[in-house]
């Protein structure tokens, strides 16, 4: 890891995408886009325009009109969030770019940074300018060391070209951008926890108020956005809100979305597609369909904090609105596909294990509730389940909503959907006193499960 090298292997499945490529337009199979390439495609025009000709209010209005929803999982309107930084808010103000991306199944921000770092840097500069933040911090997970090095290098290049630093493009506005490495914990993706982490405090979330936009980093107004959200900014400013909305296939949606698909499909990877594209099209056209011998059973449509989307929604339009109507969430757009041979009780157990381990332990419903749920599921999976476990799970699930932050309610989503859509599967475990998906131990059981990527 001496040199910041592009992570080229993750881009090998660049497909013949028939849809407009906005965020991935400069994506190369084997390297990052240079500043020159980014500029050649109109890069930094939006920043130049805003600092020389637009008012801050105008920029905030465009983002609001574009109906850009936060891409980090919560889907909060980005324009509205920007506007919560009051015009008379004290200085200094901060912008935090969340590149922590620890939601299981999610790897879109890594691919985006490796494809076109300047798009993110311009997005940061425009957003910071719009709220007059003088410092931006990119909070990045330690597993993404290559991405961190790429960003540090490209930030220097952008500063040398006059896009960052003092007096950006001849204006009186200055912005410093730094990269902050985390030491790895899922909860650091939660904004109040992330701010604590940035301040060298134990990253427990804090319940607002005060909100980060009022009293955030070092007690100052702080705006926090996800990588993909920020990368949309230059395009919206340059092409307008209407253009952005029309990128979506559904009237309720706006823009494109990077879908990171993984699991039992032939070509896992990241694909930029219009919001509102059908799930079946992503699975079949982009990801090359299910693995041979596998049938689609369910998917988690947007990370571990979303619910299992059963087969009946296979043709659902992947839009924040449509998923909401189906009682689910688009989350981060990380689609994890399960096939008919995968036990969803075991999958939920795995997810609960994850949440129980990653809980910061601060509040009781989360700290105590998750291990309790995990143990019940473990017993069901091991064939020791009893009929009353199901109402116990139902009850415990409700407690998860009484926690301080969104972590435990997120953990409730897969459990809730397991209980709602796959109750029969749970019952089968309990009745048969064994997991129906587990084969009898045979000679192959102790051997190696051959990874499917190896021909």
């Amino acid at each position: 890891m001496n040199e910041a090298q592009p992570d080229c292997r993750n881009q090998r499945h660049t497909m013949n995408n028939m849809y407009p490529q906005v965020l991935f337009k400069n994506r190369h199979p084997d390297r990052i886009a240079t500043l020159e390439e980014y500029r050649a495609g109109g890069g930094y025009q939006a920043l130049t325009e805003v600092v020389t000709r637009r008012s801050r209010h105008e920029v905030q209005e465009i983002i609001l009109d574009a109906a850009l929803l936060g891409r980090g999982g919560a889907a909060f309107p980005a324009g509205r969030k920007m506007m919560t930084i009051a015009a008379d808010a004290p200085f200094p103000r901060y912008l935090v770019c969340n590149a922590d991306e620890m939601e299981p199944g999610t790897f879109k921000d890594r691919v985006l940074i490796h494809a076109d770092p300047h798009m993110l840097i311009e997005g940061i500069a425009i957003t910071a300018w719009a709220v007059r933040a003088e410092k931006a911090v990119i909070f990045i997970r330690p597993e993404y060391e290559n991405a961190a090095r790429i960003l540090e290098r490209e930030i220097r290049i952008a500063a040398a070209a006059g896009y960052l630093g003092r007096g950006i493009l001849g204006s009186d506005y200055g912005l410093e951008v730094v990269v902050h490495r985390s030491a790895g914990r899922y909860i650091c993706g939660e904004v109040t926890a992330q701010l604590n982490a940035l301040m060298g405090r134990r990253p427990n979330p804090k319940q607002p108020p005060p909100y980060a936009t009022e009293k955030g980093l070092w007690g100052r107004p702080t705006l926090a956005h996800n990588v993909e959200t920020l990368a949309c900014l230059p395009h919206i400013v340059r092409n307008g809100a209407e253009w952005f909305k029309k990128l979506a296939l559904t009237p309720t949606g706006a823009g494109t979305k990077i879908f990171a698909i993984s699991g039992k499909v032939k070509r896992p990877g990241c694909y930029e597609l219009p919001i509102g594209i059908r799930l079946s099209e992503i699975v079949e056209e982009c990801a090359g369909g299910m693995l041979d011998g596998s049938e689609f059973k369910a998917c988690l449509p947007g990370g571990a904090s979303t619910g299992f989307l059963p087969r009946q929604h296979y043709h659902i339009e992947m839009d924040f609105d449509a998923l909401k109507k189906a009682g689910n969430r688009l989350g981060t757009g990380a689609i994890m596909v399960f096939d008919h041979k995968t036990c969803l009780v075991a999958a939920t157990l795995n997810l609960m294990e994850f949440f129980a381990r990653e809980s910061c332990g601060w509040c009781t419903p989360c700290r105590e509730g998750l291990p309790y749920i995990r143990d019940l599921l473990a017993r069901i999976e091991a064939g020791e389940g009893e009929a009353e476990f199901v109402p116990m799970l139902e009850e415990m699930k409700v407690h998860l909503y009484r926690s301080y932050c969104a972590f435990a309610p997120g953990a409730a989503a897969p459990l809730e959907s397991l209980l709602a859509h796959f109750n029969e599967e749970i019952q089968e475990h309990i009745r048969g006193k064994r997991c129906p998906f587990k084969k009898e131990p045979g000679p192959e059981a102790a051997g190696w499960v051959k990874p499917r990527y190896i021909a």
Binding site: G105, E145, P268, A304
Partner: protein, 192 residues
């Protein structure tokens, strides 16, 4: 670092047991001058020293292999924090180690995508090959085996990290190759 050996035997290294510092000679707990000066310069450059807590812990851990009580105390002093405050962080994060670990720390991803694509096989193979279970270090002090939550390489699952560097699409052959490279580097006196 004998105080940590004692603390480890007692169950858990404890920074509150500051008396053990007295047992150490000054050279035991002193960072090399060059590293210390570099870190101090970086700290001087930022507005709030403690914002560099993770960077400093990583640098010191890279030097000593883990965060001993003495190392943690020294780092805390540089960051203008109490040892207890820094220990709150050191015990929180996945990639900071308060107990001795092997030269190569292997983190096997056990989150849902790797789980469905063969995590068990990877873990079992590593366990058998290295002769250690999760949370253990090989007798030669080379490898520590740990589980880790999703590392963001689901498109290349099953995946693992070796000293925070990712290796994906794992097969027994590939794992053998990775371990061999580590052993080779260790024999040459390199870590990474």
């Amino acid at each position: 670092m004998f105080c940590d050996g004692a603390a480890a035997l007692a169950g858990r290294a404890s920074i509150r047991d500051v008396n053990c510092l007295d047992l150490l000679t000054a050279t035991d707990i002193m960072l090399p001058k060059e590293l210390k000066e570099r870190l101090e310069a970086e700290i001087k450059h930022v507005e709030h020293p403690r914002e560099l807590a993770v960077d400093v812990m990583f640098a010191i851990q890279d030097h000593y292999g883990y965060l001993s009580d003495a190392a943690l105390a020294e780092a805390a002093a540089m960051l203008d924090m109490t040892p207890l405050e820094l220990d709150e962080l050191a015990t929180f994060y996945t990639f900071t180690f308060r107990e001795p670990v092997g030269k190569y720390v292997i983190h096997v991803c056990d989150s849902v995508v790797c789980w469905m694509n063969g995590y068990e096989s990877v873990k079992d193979y590593l366990s058998r090959t290295l002769g250690v279970g999760l949370g253990e270090t090989t007798a030669d002090g080379l490898f520590t085996l740990l589980p880790v939550c999703c590392i963001g390489y689901c498109d290349r699952s099953p995946a693992m990290l070796v000293n925070r560097r990712v290796h994906g699409e794992l097969t027994p052959e590939k794992i053998d190759e990775i371990l061999e490279t580590c052993r080779h580097k260790a024999a040459e006196g390199r870590t990474r």
